[in-house]
Assembly symmetry: C3
Homo-oligomer: 378 residues x 3
Amino acid sequence: MVEINGTVADGFETVREEFAAFVGGEQADYEGQLCVFQDGRRVVDLWAGDRDALYAVYSSTKGAAHLVVALLVQDGILELDREVAYYWPEFAAAGKSAVTLRELISHRAGLIGPDSAYTGAELSDDRALAERLAAQRPFWRPGTAFGYHALVIGALTGEVVFRATGSTLQEVYEERVRAPYGLDFFLGLPEELEGRFRSVQPMLPTPVQQAELDAALTGPDSLGSISFNQRGPEPGSLEEFANLRAVRAAGQASAGGIASARGLAGMYAAAISEVDGRAPLLKPDTIAEVGQIHSVGRDLIIRDHGAFGLGFQATADKYPFLGAGSFGHSGAAGSQAFADPRAGLTYGYTRRRFAYPGGAAPENERLAYVVHRAARAV
Amino acid sequence: MVEINGTVADGFETVREEFAAFVGGEQADYEGQLCVFQDGRRVVDLWAGDRDALYAVYSSTKGAAHLVVALLVQDGILELDREVAYYWPEFAAAGKSAVTLRELISHRAGLIGPDSAYTGAELSDDRALAERLAAQRPFWRPGTAFGYHALVIGALTGEVVFRATGSTLQEVYEERVRAPYGLDFFLGLPEELEGRFRSVQPMLPTPVQQAELDAALTGPDSLGSISFNQRGPEPGSLEEFANLRAVRAAGQASAGGIASARGLAGMYAAAISEVDGRAPLLKPDTIAEVGQIHSVGRDLIIRDHGAFGLGFQATADKYPFLGAGSFGHSGAAGSQAFADPRAGLTYGYTRRRFAYPGGAAPENERLAYVVHRAARAV
Amino acid sequence: MVEINGTVADGFETVREEFAAFVGGEQADYEGQLCVFQDGRRVVDLWAGDRDALYAVYSSTKGAAHLVVALLVQDGILELDREVAYYWPEFAAAGKSAVTLRELISHRAGLIGPDSAYTGAELSDDRALAERLAAQRPFWRPGTAFGYHALVIGALTGEVVFRATGSTLQEVYEERVRAPYGLDFFLGLPEELEGRFRSVQPMLPTPVQQAELDAALTGPDSLGSISFNQRGPEPGSLEEFANLRAVRAAGQASAGGIASARGLAGMYAAAISEVDGRAPLLKPDTIAEVGQIHSVGRDLIIRDHGAFGLGFQATADKYPFLGAGSFGHSGAAGSQAFADPRAGLTYGYTRRRFAYPGGAAPENERLAYVVHRAARAV
């Protein structure tokens, strides 16, 4: 039986119960973490596994990347309604001159991946990715649709950040967000912390689930394969991706982040709340803008309903019990992280083993539900 | 067994049969009315309960509110492609200066409700609502999505009418629509008619239905709760809302209307047909414009497919057997009202008790289907 | 047992097996053809029935019509972002002056059919249809939605072609596409080839299927009936439409094409590949543009998800195993035709008898899947 460790504040006992109930139904080797802040104070800190473990959080990385954008917009360094080409002239090629930063980061530009296959090394190098994408024609007519830029949105965003500031997105993040708060949420995991990283474990689907996954497999040049780089022998599976030290070292801005649940929830707490006497990183207007829904409907890549704010997922649409304007980002192995500004609540969840069917693990819905109920009651 | 009263014209006998068949499956205390006009002539007038009863029609009220807009557009007093702020300067706040009247009334502006909770008194006061909403940031980026402004669209529309004409929407409606035709469809029920009002009865869900309703409950700051004002102790349930005399007296333009089915169908007949020697209120071009589909896809609030014309629901999309350009509006307790201009048909239905699951009661589909078939055959 | 004839190239044996397996489950009188080109070479050529039979391909005709548009755009004779009214001034009526050619051919203009019923003779006469449509108000606000212009998109496109070139779309197609390659895909079947035409056979639905078809029937003025001209006694059913010699002679540009699978696949091969020493008709940029997704989401007419490129269906969205940018068009009796430029693959399928439930016959999915797998493996 898996042991649950950690603490919850008064009023959050139901969260511990729900987490224990969920873990009780998992494999004996389950490892995961759940952390919640309310009004800048840590009120839930639970884990199964090592207290200080760090996990690959995949696309939850995009939340860190776009917190950087939000800060630069707030500072007036980036303007959302400027054309991307204003910052990055090469981007104007192939009919993209009118695409704005706002459209780019709400997954509307249609540059979901390189036109031809790319290697694992290229995948971990945001600037090389950006260079290839700048020359390309969008896969859909910008303005008519949106779709998930699964492995490249951070490269595109990052190039804008680099052109505007002279620093990489990862550097700005480290300087302005991670280091000041000592967050366990790294875009670029230092060598000396490698000992805390727990390698990703593959999904263990049932035979029925495996059949469904196989049925969803697409050809190597399909829209889905291009977005998720399922195109050839390299870099192999998503599991292998984060298990490469090069990827963790680079902190690829779409999916290369390494974090604990404490780091995830802590970052969102720093964004929206006073934490340890520091003012929130984001002003109310900025919080409202990044959580404002910008893309909603059928995601051309996911082939299902989806909703994005500015670089963040519109978590308020995914979990309708949350407050309007909730924003965050989930990740492939099952992680989830978000802020519900109206409740003063932030949430982080990590797990080691890929959950079926991919993306935010199903347990997040029940965990977020009890967290939100508890937070509203205290 | 519930008694059915009233008359149908030759050729509409199937409508009486279908109404009787439906009522036969309802509770013993069922009360409701069904009325149909064809080419301006009343061809169906059926009821269970009192002949002269008046019911709360909730959002069917929006049809009356937007008939006023259609008339003012037809007169050249309002222009659909003007910015709302042209008429109402305060509306320009918080990034809304470019929102047009056309976008506003097709539920695209993103001002689904006040940012913070409001009382029952505020809910019944359209001008107070409008003042709060003018200052707010939209919940989604205008132009990227649409969603049902359940309790405030009439306040927003009404403020535009007031600014442009110096009269309230309710006054214009009374003078130009209700009084000339003596319609039993009131935005502001006179004290002396209170004796005909039959108070709203709550839904009687089965245990399975109740469980589904409970599962759909959202947190108090969710998008759904903001649109439907399910935020706190006041004003309590939607049932209580219309049971307040203050609400009926004000005739709140989103959901405060009181009507009979005769009034509902009669208003749409006056809109599209010659009635008692009077020319139709709307010219063919105006009829075509208000029924033209302006918003279609996933409604961010309803979380399902929806379609709106200009202030009206695109009833042609909801009931695909109807003619293209059919427009109308249903209401929470189960009412439905629409015009099918190609068939010269108008339809009104009211019921006293809330129907599961809310919105247009399910029986409207079968009733409208036989009505349409009968009308096309005569 | 139905006999399968024809040949497959090395590596495409699985296609023959799948075709045989499918045909084995069909009626004893099944007739159909499957043809595939890879890199301009015919690699699959299978049929049940007569080797040289020609079938009505209905909306697969739209692929030929819009290949003409692609050629004229490539030549600089048509410009996608010009207003339609620039070429065809009468089109500006009723609020359509701003509609561009790009919007028109991505099914966004909202002119899904004539406002009032039309006869079979009118249906086969593209120029008469165009004249009626030019005067009309769109059924939805251009720019807010899209929907399938089932029987008139070719008339609208064709009028633009005629105004810009002085030749009918059918003439341009014959001169630039069909004749040079000797394709068995006719917009206007010569009298002397009538002997090869196999008349359309009606669908044979099961009782359950028939009940579903009946339930989907709509009123004569509904959006669906207007698009599919199910409005009155003429022209009767879609089956009868193509069985009229007048329709086949005219080669109505929306649905009047007559072809073999060899002709369908051959046309797409000519479009994207070198064939018999001739350069591809379309340059890479044009190929990318016509396959770029322009309309995606709920189709207002089909009442389901759909995706269009420029006059072509975005086949990459329908069959997600295909390469991004795949484009083509299916037809009512069950035909399907497309190009997958990334795989150098083109596909044509015809059948004589209408397949349930209409549109691309279900077997196309399994056939296209094995075709694509085989093509990627060789």
